[in-house]
């Protein structure tokens, strides 16, 4: 039983790869339990070993199915995999239905695979801070690879690039017109493009279009990563080994080219900014509600401009944060 066990105690068990301890600490991180902070600070020292892969793409592109297949490849190669699967929460109730497990059913009951579903709740859109801390926990828990699966709408796809070492964009044939790839902006963010459902006759067209677009954006140079287009088919169970190899090649490329240093810096920046944003938002919404309301009224009545109100709130906050953190 781990109920009411201190987070510091659980942190020790996370390092031993204890799945229940990982699961419970993710819960505490998600519920913003202040008691968990010290344990997370301690565990952060044990992170940085896992290769973090972001998987994004429009709804229905086949991300969950791809993850299920990819995980089997990793398992066959002897590596353990942690998965953070993110689904959007309702903007009205804040609740969410997390259905990624439906397609990942057969993966559980393998201790080398850990799946956690999370909702986007409480973020400005995009990858939530708790999701990134869940990645830390899986990393500290000894998982070799951590996959973050997220819906590629709006901010998420930019966020995932700033949180992962390798970003995989899943494209499905027949979704949208010829220029959809450029319009959606997914071209630039991918380290690897997947064309799913490659058993379908129209997949070749999608593959060719992507290749043409990628060729146009190529800069000349020796150490340039050439974004591969990998066709996969879950019908035929094909292409997933190739996808794993492409991810591995990208990891090697990051190390050899030295790009990994810049990626790590980018990830650190994202993480720090996200936490800072959260602290500010919490403060505005929860801790200084009366003052916020007062200022909102002044802004509404044109007695103060939004910038002035924001600066006033931040100044008032400065002292309090100093005390609280």
């Amino acid at each position: 039983m781990i109920s009411r066990t201190s987070s510091m105690k659980l942190a020790e068990r996370v390092r031993e790869g204890h799945l229940r301890a990982i699961a419970r600490l993710i819960t505490r991180v998600e519920s913003r339990d202040p008691e968990v902070r010290q344990a997370m600070a301690e565990l952060y020292k044990s992170t940085g070993r896992a290769h973090v892969v972001g998987i994004t793409g429009v709804p229905g592109a086949g991300k969950s199915t791809l993850v299920a297949e990819l995980v089997q490849e990793y398992r066959a190669s002897g590596r353990t995999v942690g998965i953070v699967a993110i689904d959007p929460s309702s903007p009205f109730s804040g609740g969410a239905i997390l259905g990624d497990r439906i397609r990942m059913g057969e993966l559980v009951s393998d201790p080398g695979v850990f799946i956690r579903s999370m909702s986007t709740r409480g973020t400005l859109g995009g990858l939530a801070r708790p999701a990134l801390e869940a990645v830390d926990l899986l990393d500290a828990g000894g998982f070799d690879v951590v996959l973050i699966e997220t819906v590629g709408v709006g901010q998420d796809e930019v966020d995932i690039v700033r949180a992962a070492h390798t970003t995989v964009v899943v494209n499905a044939p027949g979704l949208g017109d010829d220029v959809q790839a450029i319009k959606a902006g997914v071209l630039e963010i991918a380290d690897i493009h997947v064309v799913s459902k490659a058993d379908r006759p129209d997949s070749n067209k999608t593959i060719q279009e992507l290749k043409v677009m990628l060729a146009m954006s190529l800069e000349p140079g020796k150490d340039i990563w050439r974004v591969p287009v990998v066709p996969t088919s879950s019908e035929k169970h094909s292409g997933f080994g190739e996808l794993m190899s492409a991810i591995d090649r990208h990891a090697v490329h990051l190390e050899h080219s030295g790009e990994i240093t810049e990626r790590r810096r980018q990830i650190a920046l994202t993480r720090v900014v996200k936490v800072a944003e959260e602290i500010v938002r919490d403060n505005f919404v929860r801790d200084s509600r009366s003052q916020t309301e007062e200022l909102l009224k002044m802004v509404t009545q044109r007695e103060m401009d939004p910038h002035g109100a924001a600066v006033t709130l931040l100044k008032a906050m400065k002292e309090k944060i100093h005390e609280a953190h």
């Binding site: 781990i2 699961a23 929460s89 109730s93 397609r103 929860r286």
Partner: protein
Amino acid sequence: MQNNDNSANVIRVMLAKIGLDGHDRGIKVVARALRDAGMDVVYTGLHRTPEEVVDAAIQEDVDILGISLLSGAHMHIFPKVLELLKAKEADDMIVAGGGVIPDDDVEELYQMGVHKILLQDTPPQEVIDSFRQLVADRGAR
């Protein structure tokens, strides 16, 4: 911004279908109702084994594991689930059942350690209220 506050203490529920039971209309209605009440609902899909469901519930660290059974196999499946939770030191998880279950069995299931049985004609609001109550009664974990 009004949704920012409720990040804390969101109730997490797993809804599961175990065994040869293809009736998922009810469980999907419940999933939607719980979501609309602000809960995070993990749905397993059909035809899971008790082992798969218990392992998944542990990884998801849900407050409540809700199992819907319309196949008549409840007296076989609930003991199995409770036994697995105990073996994996996860018997602090709240277990709820729903579906078509005869009255005599309901009593026996409660004695076995199932926390709540909600039969097929339970209104969604009652499911929401009883789930909130179960989590409140359990307290911090």
